[in-house]
């Protein structure tokens, strides 16, 4: 092969993605052409540096696993109802489920064969945007109020002694799940201010949820510093009050006007 290898050819060769015929020609060309050989060597070195960097990735914090679990556990509890868990976690039980499905299907089929009364009137249409927005604002407002109470309890706790954080911890566990959903909604609707605040809040809530029930003074001080340094309590209060205003506006606009989605 007389023509030089392109950069893209070199990439395909590096990853072993060439056809056999092209691969043979490339190997032969690389052994004969100093220019292409040098270019390939440079590519190899760059990609080796990429590998080196992957090995040098900074270590995650020691409490990483605890944090992951604090986020995960409430969702596992919430996500799978006991009967579903009983069913899903043991495939043998699916046999029972299959039997139930067959019975239900048979009953449904029998129902279709029997005469039925005239169709019921159609259900009311879905809630209009304004109502949806009011519910959403109310929910997020409640969430922030509850979060605020947890933050206040922690900030005002006596820093000289071990703090019994069992109540705050349980509440934070509940709030983490909802917070994550609100944050993801805010991200997907492009509401950056709310998303960023909820992100800050989530980190503190996760920290509280992952903490021991008896919070040692130094650990308490650390969480208090974190809340203080970010001005988190203040920001949550401001957003709460902003949401209350939006809620009032949404109520006023309810007289026929569809609401603007703000989250």
């Amino acid at each position: 092969m007389n023509t030089h290898l392109t950069e893209d050819d070199l990439v395909l060769h590096y990853y072993g993605e060439m056809s056999d015929a092209d691969e043979t020609r490339s190997v032969s060309h690389l052994s004969a052409c100093t220019e292409c050989h040098a270019s390939y060597r440079r590519l190899q070195r760059v990609l080796a540096v990429v590998d080196e960097a992957a090995a040098a990735a900074p270590e995650l914090p020691v409490h990483f696993e605890r944090t992951v679990w604090a986020r995960l556990e409430p969702e596992l509890r919430r996500g799978t109802s006991p009967w579903l868990k009983w069913l899903v976690l043991s495939p043998s039980r699916l046999v029972w489920a299959a039997a139930v499905i067959v019975l239900v299907a048979a009953a449904f089929y029998a129902g279709r064969l029997s005469p039925r009364p005239a169709d019921a009137p159609a259900q009311a249409s879905a809630a209009p945007g304004a109502v949806r927005e009011r519910i959403l604002l109310m929910d997020l407002g409640d969430h922030l109020e509850r979060s605020q109470m947890v933050l206040v309890e922690i900030v005002t706790a006596d820093g000289d002694n071990t703090f019994d954080a069992s109540m705050e911890r349980a509440e934070a566990e509940q709030l983490v799940f909802a917070n994550r959903l609100y944050r993801q909604t805010a991200v997907s609707t492009g509401d950056r201010t709310i998303a960023s605040l909820l992100d800050e809040l989530e980190r503190v809530l996760v920290d509280v949820a992952a903490s021991p029930e008896q919070l040692p003074a130094d650990r308490l001080a650390e969480v208090q510093r974190r809340i203080d340094s970010q001005g988190l309590l203040f920001k949550v209060r401001v957003l709460s009050s902003e949401l209350r205003d939006r809620q009032k506006t949404a109520f006023r606009e309810h007289a026929g006007q569809p609401g603007r989605s703000s989250l």
């Binding site: 990853y15 990429v50 080196e52 960097a53 990735a57 992951v68 996500g79 899903v88 976690l89 495939p91």
Partner: protein
């Protein structure tokens, strides 16, 4: 003595949440690293970790005990990362030339003064350079490159995972490598001269 993954999975299947917690503790960091490479963002990576373990928990019944739990989890994490990337707006076109110029300028700046080859040898320094270069890739370029370079997946497999045509996948990888070369070659060269 810690239990094997297979034994721990069996306990988790029977509803032992502490066993599932042990699996999270064993594999959480690896899942985070993969997700971070794929998404390029710590917050997204945390979400991927969350989704991965939630899915794993829900699908434990389908996990075959002869398989490797880590590999199985890894596959779920890749899929969760791809789902997240797909759900975000793409930044695919129109910034190649600018990016390459930007990389060139940044690289020259470093080459001309502040960086010495000795400092470059420091792994943290290399990490920052590579992270910066990876940060300039579009989401699809990054996903395709990570799957090819770090995960060793074939271009055909990557095309299927990302829902792209084979040629589009190849070009995502080519563009990614080109950007990495533009950003990193001056440093590699300086390192060799040093």
């Amino acid at each position: 003595m810690p239990q094997t993954d297979a034994a721990t999975v069996a306990l988790a299947r029977d509803g032992d949440s502490e066993a599932f917690r042990a699996l999270v503790e064993r594999h959480g960091r690896a899942v985070f690293r993969l997700a971070h490479r794929m998404t390029g963002n710590a917050q997204d990576a945390e979400d991927v970790v969350q989704e991965t373990f939630l899915k794993a928990y829900k699908q434990l019944g389908r996990f075959e005990s002869r398989a490797n739990f880590g590999t199985w989890l890894h596959r779920i994490a890749v899929n969760c990362s791809i789902d997240l990337i797909r759900s975000r707006p793409h930044r695919e076109s129109g910034h190649d030339a600018d990016d390459l110029e930007h990389f060139g300028a940044v690289s020259e700046g470093h080459e001309s003064g502040q960086q010495t080859p000795e400092r470059l040898m420091l792994s943290t320094e290399v990490y920052e350079r590579v992270t910066g270069a990876m940060g300039g890739l579009s989401q699809m370029e990054r996903a395709a490159f990570v799957l090819r370079h770090f995960e060793g997946q074939s271009i055909d497999d990557i095309s299927r995972s990302l829902g792209l045509k084979v040629n589009a996948t190849k070009h995502s990888i080519f563009r990614a490598v080109r950007k990495m070369r533009t950003a990193l070659e001056p440093f590699v060269a300086a390192d060799e001269r040093g």
